[in-house]
Amino acid sequence: MTLSAAERERYSRHLLLPEIGAAGQERLKAARVLVVGAGGLGSPASLYLAAAGVGTLGIVDHDRVDLSNLQRQLLFDTTSVGAGKAVSAQARLQALNNEINVVAHAVELRAANALELLGGYDCIVDGSDRLDTRYLVNDACVLLGRPLVSAAIHRFEGQAMTYLPGQGPCYRCLFPESAAGVAPNCAEAGVLGVLPGMMGALQATEAIKLLLNIGAPLVGRLMTYDALAMEWHEFRFRRREDCAVCGVAPTITTLADSAASCAADVPARWPRVNAGELRQLLGAAGSGPQAAPTIVDVREVHEFQAGHLDGSVNIPLGDLSRRVGELPTQAPVVFVCRSGRRSQTACELSARAGVQRVADLEGGLLAWAATVDSSIKVA
C-alpha cells in the first residue's frame, strides 16, 4: 500500500521517525483496528488512531450520546446529543482523516457476534465500560489469537495492559473473575473527565506500537495511573497455568454472555417493585398489620451520603455478605441502588444467605427521582 502525495504530507512527522518511516506508515494504512466502546477511553484512542492513519478503524457502540458524556468523550459535541454513538463517531473520525475507512458497528457486543466482529480486525482496543464486556472481549481475543489493548478507569485512577497471543498473560490471568456489581462504573462512581484522555492515548500508543512491531509492549505488565498523586506504577504479572481461557486446560472454549450482561433485557431474577409501589409500601406502614419493608441501600457510602430514602439503611454491596446477619430473615427487605443493577445482586446474595422475602427497586433511585420524588439527590 503506497502513500499518496497528500498522505506523505499528512503523515510527514511520522515519516521523519526512523522507527516508522514510509514502510511503517504503509503498515498502519494496511492495518485494521477495532475500538470497543466510543466512550471516555474510546474517544481519545480512536481520534489518535484515525489521525495516525490506521487504514481501517472500526467503532463498536450501541449507545446514544448523552449530555453527561461530553465532559470526557471528545468524539462528540453538543450537537451530537441524542445521536447514535457509532455513527456520530464515524462522522467525526472521517472528518479528521478522509484517507482512512471508518466503520460504524452500532450493535451491542455479545457472545453471539463477538467472534465475527473482532475476527475482522488485526488489533482490538477495549474501552468498554462494563466488566462483563471486558471479559467477553478478552476471551474473544484469546480464542481468535488477536492482540488486545485494555484499559479501565474509575474516579481518578486508571489501569492498562496489553495481551499478545502466545506471548503473555491475558486480562483473565490478572483478574480471573468478574465482580459485576462490586466495581461501580463511571455512571455510578464519577470520573475526572481528563483521566480517560491519559489512558485512551496510552491505548492508541500501544496499538500503534503493536502494528509497527516497535518498542516494548505492555505485556505481562499492569500500568496504573493515579491522577491525584500524579503517579504511574507498573506491576509484573504472569500467565496463569489455570487461566480459564488461556491456561493449559481452558474451560472457556466458546463465548457465553454472563448473566449480568443481559440484565437490561431479560426478566429480573428476583421480585421487583417499581417506585410507585415502593411509595405505597412505605406509606402504608403503621396503618395496618402489614409490616413496612426494611429498605437497604446497597450503594457506596459516599453515594448514600449524597442523598437517600428516609429510613433506609446503608450496607454497601461489598459489605453485604459480611453484614447479612443485620437483615430480618422473615420480614420483607427491599434493596435499592442507583439504577437497579447492584440491588439485583444484593437480592441474590442475601437470598443465598437465608433472607426469605427479598425484592428490589426497579430502575433504582433514578426511577424514584423520575417518578416519585425529584428532590432526592442521586449521586
Binding site: 465500560d129 462494563r130 465482580a179 459516599h302 459489605d319
Partner: protein, 87 residues
C-alpha cells in the same frame, strides 16, 4: 510500618485517602492491621477462605502476592489493586 496504596474503589474505607500506613511482617498481618483501622476493608479483598478475591490483586513493590503468608520487609510498599470497569 509499611506504606499501603489503596485503589480508588476501596477509598470509601479510608476517607478518600490513597496512601495509608500499616504494620506487619506478613501480608496477612498487614491486612489485619488495615482492618483494625479501616473496618470492613479486608473483607472487600479477602474471602471467608482467606483467598484473595478474584478482582483484587496485591503486590509487594512490583511483585504479585500469591499467598497471604508471604513476608513483608520493613520498607516494602504494598499495592492493593482492584479491577476497574469504567470506560
Amino acid at each position: 510500618m509499611n506504606t499501603v496504596r489503596v485503589p480508588s474503589p476501596l477509598r470509601d474505607y479510608t476517607a478518600g485517602v490513597g496512601k495509608i500506613n500499616a504494620k506487619g511482617t506478613t501480608v496477612s498481618e498487614i491486612l489485619t492491621d488495615i482492618e483494625r483501622k479501616h473496618q470492613g476493608m479486608r473483607f472487600r479483598m479477602i474471602d471467608e477462605q482467606d483467598r484473595i478475591r478474584p478482582h483484587i490483586r496485591i503486590f509487594i513493590n512490583q511483585r504479585e502476592v500469591q499467598s497471604l503468608g508471604e513476608a513483608v520487609a520493613p520498607r516494602d510498599e504494598i499495592h492493593l489493586i482492584c479491577a476497574l470497569s469504567g470506560g
